[in-house]
């Protein structure tokens, strides 16, 4: 444990006895977690959220380890199952505010079916997907988000598959909020999480992260600074982009911004509306 005479604004939302944590130098996850917690902190100071009601659920992977670091009700569950776990908890106690915080492999790969159906139901949860383009914790295997032709340890001759643009795919379903940012958009992450937490229904925020240790090595940009600079050029923010404008291409553009923002009834509103009287 690092003892310091200095304090940090989000110290009280962290299990400081676990710092320094498992993430590599240059990793983007800590930055994304930081701005997520800042959003909570600001909402709390504005009297809009009670941290005791937040349930922070993660799956397996580098990002999944975040549950063990936050001082909130938290669960580090099975690979791909953070969404159903959070949904179940909310079914038991609808006053909970579930935040699913997990990686691209966990959410869009093995957990893809749960993502799809939580979105279809406009389920009242916030999903933050940290996308580092690879299975980093396990050494750099292929992810559904890995760019075409890029090396991974399970596609040593290059990835023959086109990747999924998860945020764009979810636009086919009537969810209340979809946004994508990169780890180079610090205040955007915080503002977006803050806004999304005050909304009902299904909310999805993808944050493009940097993984110099694994993904950086795979694409030949091992230096964290260079990887940040590269991502900064690729991650282009557009205001209200149309479906056709949104790109997910490491070689040209990964479009960022708010893709969807509406206020349809969430699952629990609709459940209440249906009631228990037979029509």
């Amino acid at each position: 444990m690092v003892k310091s005479k200095y304090s940090h604004p989000i110290d009280d939302l962290l299990r400081l006895d676990r710092v320094p944590y498992t993430w590599c130098p240059g990793c983007g996850i800590g930055i994304i977690l930081h701005h997520t917690l800042r959003a909570i902190k600001e909402l709390e100071s504005e009297g809009k959220i009670n941290r005791d009601k937040i349930l922070f659920v993660t799956g397996i992977g580098c990002t999944g380890r975040a549950a063990g670091l936050v001082k909130l009700d938290a669960a580090h569950v099975l690979h791909g199952r953070a969404i159903p776990f959070a949904v179940g908890a909310m079914l038991a106690n609808p006053s909970l505010i579930p935040i699913v915080f997990s990686g691209d492999g966990d959410i869009a790969g093995i957990g893809g079916n749960h993502l799809l159906h939580a979105a279809r139901r406009n389920m009242d949860i916030l999903v933050i997907m940290v996308n580092n383009f690879t299975y980093a914790l396990t050494g750099g295997q292929l992810a559904p988000t890995t760019p075409y032709k890029v090396y991974s340890t399970t596609t040593p001759y290059g990835n023959p598959e086109p990747p999924i643009d998860t945020a764009k795919a979810l636009m086919a379903l009537d969810v209340n909020y979809i946004a994508r940012w990169s780890v180079t958009h610090l205040t955007k992450i915080k503002d977006s999480v803050k806004y999304a937490l005050t909304k009902r229904g299904f909310r999805f925020i993808e944050v493009i992260s940097v993984c110099p240790e694994i993904f950086g090595r795979h694409i030949g940009i091992r230096d964290p600074y260079q990887l940040y600079v590269t991502l900064r050029k690729i991650a282009k923010t557009r205001i209200k982009p149309s479906f056709g404008d949104i790109k997910y291409d490491w070689n040209s553009e990964i479009t960022c911004g708010v893709f969807v923002d509406r206020d349809d009834p969430g699952y629990f509103d609709r459940l209440k509306e249906i009631g228990v009287t037979k029509k």
């Binding site: 676990r18 580090h76 569950v77 179940g88 908890a89 038991a92 106690n93 909970l96 159906h117």
Partner: protein, 383 residues
Amino acid sequence: MRVEFLTSNETCAEGAMAAGLNVYIGYPITPSSDLFEYLAEKLPKRGGIVYQGEDEIASINALVGASLAGAKAMTATSGPGLSLMQEGIGLAIMLEAPLVIVSDMRTGPSTGIATQIGQGDIMQARWGSHGPYNLVVYAPASAQEAFDYTVKAFNTAVRLRVPVIVLMDAILAHTREKVVIKEPGEIEVVEFKKTKKHPGEYKPYEYDPDDLVPPIAFFGEGYKVLHESLAHDERGYYKTSPEVYRPLVERFIEKVNRNRKYVVASKDYYADDAETLFIAIGSVARSTLALVRDLRESGLKVGLFRPISIWPFDEDRFIKMARRVKKIIVAEMNQGQLVWIIKKILWDNKLFNVDVYSLPLLLPDLPSPDEIYDEIKSRGWKI
């Protein structure tokens, strides 16, 4: 208390509601879907919630979440669904989430014959998830027992913080018979053992030394509960050391063993002077009991031992009988699973002078008493 004419699927649902079911999460599968449908109509009117997951994997994981958020939670499925739930059962073990899984066994392997009886899930109910652990499996044999042992399953799950499986079969699930449905005031209903500690000093996996079960704090109560699927210490922090791992998994095993007396259940029929003892569960036990009665009428000294808790097994009671009998015939609609348990218990107790016959009934229909007897005769066994 009221007398009804219900199927075992329906009495399971009634038992669950009597035990305080709040959240049912399931995925339709024959022959358990009508349990789901029954609850879908009744539970919301009692203030509970019924939810259909996108698959069995979603259902079991949502169930673990619901349980740790304070619900008495249940699902129902059948063999293929139980297979899909196995990883989630391991999660429930690791997070010590009390929940009840009803599984109506059908013919396998794979999709098998969806509507027909099987008993091939005795081993997967116990050993289906990876790693060392213990859980409880009840096998009722009537609509009344389906009610009684669903109540018991909830009480055991809540008391020990383990998943409990109620293992029925396709015939039993749809057998409609007279049952006495008791109300919550007329049965024992165990409630969660809540922590008495303050949020600052609470540790989610700190257990009571007497029963080895950690008192619980639910999500949303300000306790900053950390639940960890990785091997963990009492704070929920991931640890890889043998000093943490070994006591953790030993406790998972031991907490069921230590509460064995509360958990186990069995019944026997004509066993006092029996020379040949039949062993069977569920619907097969009912056919076998009819055969035992027929054979008794013809003067043969036969009896039936029917384990209700299969895991853990009512070993003490069984051993007393096993010491007296010459022959044991284990009748089951699978390759021979229950017989493994019997042989292990006899071996562990050094009972080598009793002959054990395995009678696997690999049929898609429940055999009649005569058909079971024909199977025995065709093998040349003498009773």
